[in-house]
């Protein structure tokens, strides 16, 4: 089993109003969570990225945790206070250039002695593009074309020095990029830093199968997880890859209590905090595509039709057909007698492992044993103390049963993940 720690930022996972919640920006918060993850022998520490503050109803969204430092800079600093923990940065392939980014990621790999990973994300979002020279111009298909050529170009650059440390000129000419010259950084300790792909779409799965080392996903049940796992692993052979060469790691939350009942109670309270009355209205507005501020979050669902093609929320992709979602919500609310807020809670809860340490350890292990995941990216609802329970109470049980390592056996992230060093293709 592989475990990673996510430092949450722009989302409504974080219960920032909890008195135990501290800064999302101060380095001490990052340091504490990373040290906790390393104490737990986790594979890596994971940072997300947002390149424009979200807007809702034409104004900056103020109900959410916004603002975050730049991933690679934080991770280079964390390399100073950790020894073994992998360090994964989310960096957008649409608003960067291969030469510069390949250099920055290779630099992290050198400065951390082989612990760097890059979570490749893309954007077709003209809204985000307003912060960049490039602007927003890529359609959905092109952004994966660009991402694939971006990763391939980065790997050509990482291969442009021989393993013996001799720099050789490179030249890449493709539909997206024409770059040539000499790379300034020698081959890094991992050869190629680990590549992560985030996302569940068909294009995302194919992109991951063709080129990624890890896919960061989310899926609800054990059954859904098994379907996803079989689908993605099944795509690897077409690219001449072994099933083990791509690790499937869903983002999950864990709530631990002294008993299963206590943990369930805690989890319900956390969800109520995450989906505050204001956040419930906001979530519904994102589905309906219109202002719902006149509605009571603890009352029934709005009786009106959704507005298609609304851009009420900028900076977050609107998923699916709003009419279908509203119909599903109505059926669910009726069947379970839920209020608007209750429905939002019910529909937005991601995969959670809730229970006593023994229950949680058993369920995590079952997911791996039954091929629904190779491991998990844990998303705490509190920073920076939100993983203490898992590390102190669940990890020892996983270690006892042999499901998870008791000590790091190697020093690089590739060694933690059991991924071979890439063959040099000079």
């Amino acid at each position: 089993m592989h475990l990673a720690a996510h430092f949450p930022g722009v989302n409504n996972t974080t219960v920032w109003a909890d008195p135990r919640s501290r800064s999302q920006i101060d380095f001490s918060s990052f340091e504490q969570l990373a040290r906790t993850a390393e104490r737990g022998k986790f594979d890596f520490f994971f940072l997300a990225e947002g390149l424009r503050l979200r807007e809702h109803n034409g104004r900056i969204h103020d109900l959410d945790v916004v603002g975050r430092p730049e991933s690679l800079t934080v991770l280079n600093a964390l390399a100073a206070v950790t020894d073994r923990l992998g360090l994964a940065a989310t960096v957008n392939a649409t608003f960067n250039e291969p030469y510069e980014l390949a250099r920055r990621i290779a630099t992290l790999d050198h400065l951390s002695a082989g612990r760097a990973a890059w979570n490749v994300v893309t954007s077709s979002d003209a809204f985000t593009g307003e912060n960049f020279r490039r602007g927003g111009y890529l359609d959905r298909t092109d952004r994966y074309t660009r991402a694939a050529e971006f990763v391939a170009t980065a790997r050509e650059l990482w291969d442009s020095w021989t393993p013996e440390g001799v720099s050789r000129p490179f030249a890449h000419e493709g539909p997206q990029f024409t770059v040539s010259g000499e790379f300034t950084v020698p081959r890094s300790p991992q050869g190629h830093p680990v590549v992560i792909q985030a996302g569940d779409s068909g294009e995302g799965r194919e992109f991951a199968a063709s080129t990624a080392d890890i896919i960061f996903t989310r899926h609800g049940t054990l059954e859904a997880g098994r379907d996803f796992y079989a689908d993605v692993k099944g795509r690897l052979a077409a690219y001449g890859r072994e099933a083990d060469s791509l690790k499937i790691m869903p983002g999950v939350t864990v709530v631990v209590g002294d008993s299963d009942a206590e943990a369930q109670e805690k989890a319900a309270e956390i969800r109520r905090q995450q989906v505050s009355p204001q956040n419930a209205i906001l979530a519904a507005e994102q589905i309906w595509g219109t202002d719902l501020s006149a509605y009571d979050p603890d009352g029934p669902l709005p009786g009106i039709d959704p507005v298609p093609d609304s851009e009420i929320t900028q900076g977050r992709v609107r998923h699916g057909d709003p009419f279908a979602i509203v119909a599903r919500w109505r059926a669910l609310a009726e069947a379970k007698g839920l209020s608007l807020r209750g429905t939002v809670i019910e529909t937005t809860t991601r995969q959670s492992f809730i229970g006593s340490p023994r229950t949680v350890a058993a369920e995590l292990t079952a997911f791996v044993d039954e091929r629904a995941a190779d491991g998990f990216i844990l998303v705490p609802h509190l920073t920076p103390g939100g993983l203490d329970d898992v590390v102190d109470r669940v990890v020892p049980l996983l270690q006892e049963s042999g499901a998870f390592r008791s000590e790091y056996t190697g020093s690089t992230l590739r060694s933690h993940l059991g991924l071979p060093e890439p063959v040099w293709k000079g």
Binding site: R52, V65, V66, T184
Partner: protein, 353 residues
């Protein structure tokens, strides 16, 4: 505009590339022991070496006081990313970040990106100035108290304290606001090597610290005067800009050189000055130039960093401290405090007040 303020000292820790952190940690630690204002780390896409900002981010948690000033070029990078990375360096160093802005003039660098051809220095420095300008605006785009965590209304931030920058430069536009909250120093320190005319123009408008080159104290004083005059013409307070003389130093193997003083050495980029002698001679030169009001201090580039920085700190600096010409410890925590520069009030906050 006499420069009889306290003496400021900084040192470059680059040189031949190293690909692990240890080398840079030792040098930055040495500079910190000498109570230097800051270390610079040069960078370019055109020659071997790691990303300088990343190296100094790696150094930040292992040091406490010394300022950290990487070179970040502006020609082929995204201004929004540059401003975020420098702001983040300020967060991870708890207020010790600077940024030496530079440009990429060569066709070889342009080919590494394949997006635009090389351009003349004047155009690139015009653009670099705009990148410095928009960065300052982005750093100000969150007011200091924008994060309110108001549980009663469920608002994490007060959005009235966030501001679009709506910047239109000659080659780019940026909407804003920043994604990183206002950094500890308000604005990290901008350093520009003002040797060439277009760079000097950008320095006068945007820099907090200008590095200049001169071979005599009189020449240094004249260049300093010129930079401050240009800054004043842009409506800046002359007290908000520090001018340091850049000096390449070779402290050799002896305490005192047979013929002490300033000599012209090998040809250096930008017509730089070159000092060869012993640590004591260097201390004499620094004391003399500073006393005569020629500069606010010196930015020293050791020719052999491991050897010369040790001699600078344990020889030159120790002597200046002994003569009470240089501080023995950092009385403040941030780079702005070391330099005697005020923490700027955010321009958007100021407008409302």
């Amino acid at each position: 505009m006499s420069a009889r303020t306290s003496l400021h000292l900084a040192a470059e820790i680059g040189g031949p590339p190293h690909y692990d952190a240890g080398h840079y940690l030792r040098l930055a630690g040495l500079a910190e022991d000498g109570a230097l204002d800051y270390v610079t780390l040069g960078d370019s896409f055109a020659r071997p070496g790691l990303d300088a900002l990343a190296v100094l981010a790696r150094v930040a948690p292992a040091t406490d006081r010394v300022g950290l000033v990487p070179t970040v070029t502006t020609t082929h990078t995204e201004p929004f990313h540059v401003s975020s990375a420098v702001a983040t360096l300020d967060w991870v160093s708890r207020g010790r970040a600077g940024w030496q802005a530079d440009v990429s003039t060569t066709e070889a660098e342009a080919r590494l990106f394949g997006r635009r051809p090389a351009a003349p220095p004047a155009a690139l420095w015009q653009e670099a100035g705009e990148v410095a300008d928009v960065s300052g605006r982005l750093w100000d785009s969150w007011e200091d108290d924008a994060e309110i965590r108001d549980a009663a209304t469920g608002r994490f931030i007060d959005r009235d304290k966030l501001h679009y920058v709506d910047f239109e430069g000659s080659t780019f536009t940026v909407k804003g606001p920043a994604i990183v909250p206002r950094p500890p120093q308000g604005r990290p320190v901008i350093v520009i090597d003002a040797t060439t005319a277009p760079a000097r123009e950008a320095a006068a408008r945007h820099a907090d610290v200008a590095h200049i080159r001169a071979t005599t104290p009189e020449q240094a004083a004249a260049v300093r005067e010129e930079v401050l005059r240009k800054a004043a013409a842009h409506g800046r307070d002359a007290g908000s800009l520090r001018v340091l003389v850049a000096l390449t130093v070779d402290l050799g193997d002896v305490e005192t050189a047979p013929e002490p003083g300033l000599e012209s050495g090998p040809q250096l980029a930008g017509g730089g000055t070159y000092f060869r002698g012993g640590p004591v001679d260097l201390a004499d030169l620094i004391a003399q130039w500073h006393r005569s009001g020629a500069a606010d201090g010196f930015h020293l580039t050791p020719i052999t960093p491991e050897r010369d920085l040790e001699r600078i700190v344990n020889g030159t600096v120790a002597l200046l401290q002994h003569r009470s010409l240089f501080r023995t410890f950092h009385p403040g925590g941030t780079l702005r405090e070391h330099l005697g520069l005020v923490r700027p009030v955010g321009r958007y906050a100021a407008k409302e007040a």
